[in-house]
Symmetry: C2
Subunit: 284 residues, 2 copies
């Protein structure tokens, strides 16, 4: 049971978590904070939070669980503003999609609070964002990856795990570098490809016809290009080495495929597609 | 009304077309042909065709409408085998995803039959294939592009248009080269990206974890990598210049993005993502 939950950044993830914990009766009070009062008023209206404070230091006071759910680039600033304002027994956790940069910020900013900080990444979301996009049961049967530091206390880890399990997620622990490499491949790279494809198509002179003569394949393929540009800019920059490396690895495979197509090497092309299809069919 | 429809290649597209024409009472008899008797027996069982003949020359005899729905690479061979077997008044059309290569094959093979040949491309399909994947209403509100040659007769064009409109499609005409360029961008390129991404991920040592920790975004993004490898090999090779050029255009944009990420150029990245999001939101 959480006595007072403070959600810093009351958007899709923070809002959906608050909705579920309230629905399940696992939290007594939810306080929201964000730089945008309008968003917070909307969150109260939607019944996602009980009250709010745009001053994050005041918002976290008295909370026993603080969930930092702002875009990655804003996390270090939030850590600085809450460090001296949180209760001594408060647990701090985040939901950032990149963990190396968050852990680095926590280590350099949180100081004595570090044992009660738990880096976390719920692998859930949609291409929509903001508190209006928050929904119930977003985390059911989804995975939440925790990347504890050597400083992270067992009790804090346990409480954050339990919070996510309460809303239906499967919690796993992972090394922080491994997390960032895997997510670069499985999530960040596909987003870069979708954004780049839509940007290329949008820049072509046949633009109107291109979209007119597209089918469901393109629509599904580019759905993630509707995601929040700021959030994804932050992810790219926070995980820049792993993302750039994943892009380059992909780029050289794509070059090899283009070469095979140019020289009419049907064998190469057929082998590559068959390999991919069998992987896709196995994991879907 | 079609008296006898011959579907050469009774798979997803040919089978779905036959299903709708029968359902709507717009065809008296449907004859199937394919190299695989088992597939044809299944098509009879499913009620997609009335009867079949694995010998395509015998199958087309007496038909007033012949729809060639085999993979692109097999189309020239089918044209050769049916040229002297079809009735003089029979209309021949195809459903190939690339039109330049089909038109070239028709011009060099069909000879005096050319005025009754209509190159067509229904922009519809799923990642599934074979007659078991054929469904009713696949073409409703979808577009069918016709790329007539200077030889194509007005009556043949009209009858093929009407056939597709009957099953709910919107028919448009387009220049053959333009068709192949637009489809390279909007359909062939995304398939190359999806196949390449899954192939890259499948080749990584963290393969099992990569798919375990992926979310809906990756699943949607890679759905098209389950498509028929042979069909897509044929499409790449038939449209090789336009496909290779689309890949290269994409590759250089992706390189620019990787460069911006490496140097931490958040402005560049944010602008690119914002541009893409606005295009995607406009057309979805």
């Amino acid at each position: 049971m959480i006595r007072r939950l403070c959600i810093v950044g009351t958007g899709l993830i923070g809002g959906s978590l608050a909705r579920d914990l309230r629905r399940l009766g696992k939290v007594a009070e939810v306080v929201g904070s964000s730089r945008h009062a309008a968003n917070l008023e909307r969150a109260v209206e939607l019944g996602v939070i009980d009250r709010f404070d745009v001053d994050v230091a005041r918002a976290v006071a008295g909370a026993d669980m603080v969930v930092v759910a702002v875009p990655l680039g804003a996390i270090p600033g939030v850590f600085e503003r809450i460090r001296d304002a949180v209760d001594d027994d408060a647990i701090i956790t985040d939901v950032g999609s990149v963990k190396g940069s968050v852990v680095a910020a926590a280590c350099s900013v949180l100081g004595p609070r570090l044992p009660r900080f738990v880096p976390a990444h719920p692998i859930a979301g949609t291409e929509h964002f903001g508190v209006d996009a928050s929904i119930e049961r977003l985390f059911e049967r989804r995975r939440v990856i925790l990347t504890p530091t050597t400083e992270t206390g067992a009790d804090a880890l346990e409480r954050v795990s339990r919070m996510w399990e309460t809303v239906g997620a499967e919690v796993v622990e992972m090394d922080v570098t491994r997390h960032d490499e895997i997510l670069a491949a499985t999530s960040h790279l596909p987003h870069m490809l979708a954004y780049t494809l839509v940007d290329v198509l949008g820049g072509m002179k046949e633009r109107a016809e291109i979209f007119r003569f597209s089918a469901g394949g393109l629509r599904d393929f580019t759905r993630i290009a509707s995601s929040d540009p700021r959030m994804w800019r932050d992810i790219c920059l926070a995980n820049r080495d792993a993302v750039a490396e994943a892009i380059e690895r992909f780029g050289s495979e794509l070059d090899r495929l283009a070469g095979a197509i140019r020289r009419g090497d049907g064998e190469f092309v057929h082998r590559a597609f068959t390999r991919a299809k069998s992987v896709r069919d196995e994991y879907s």
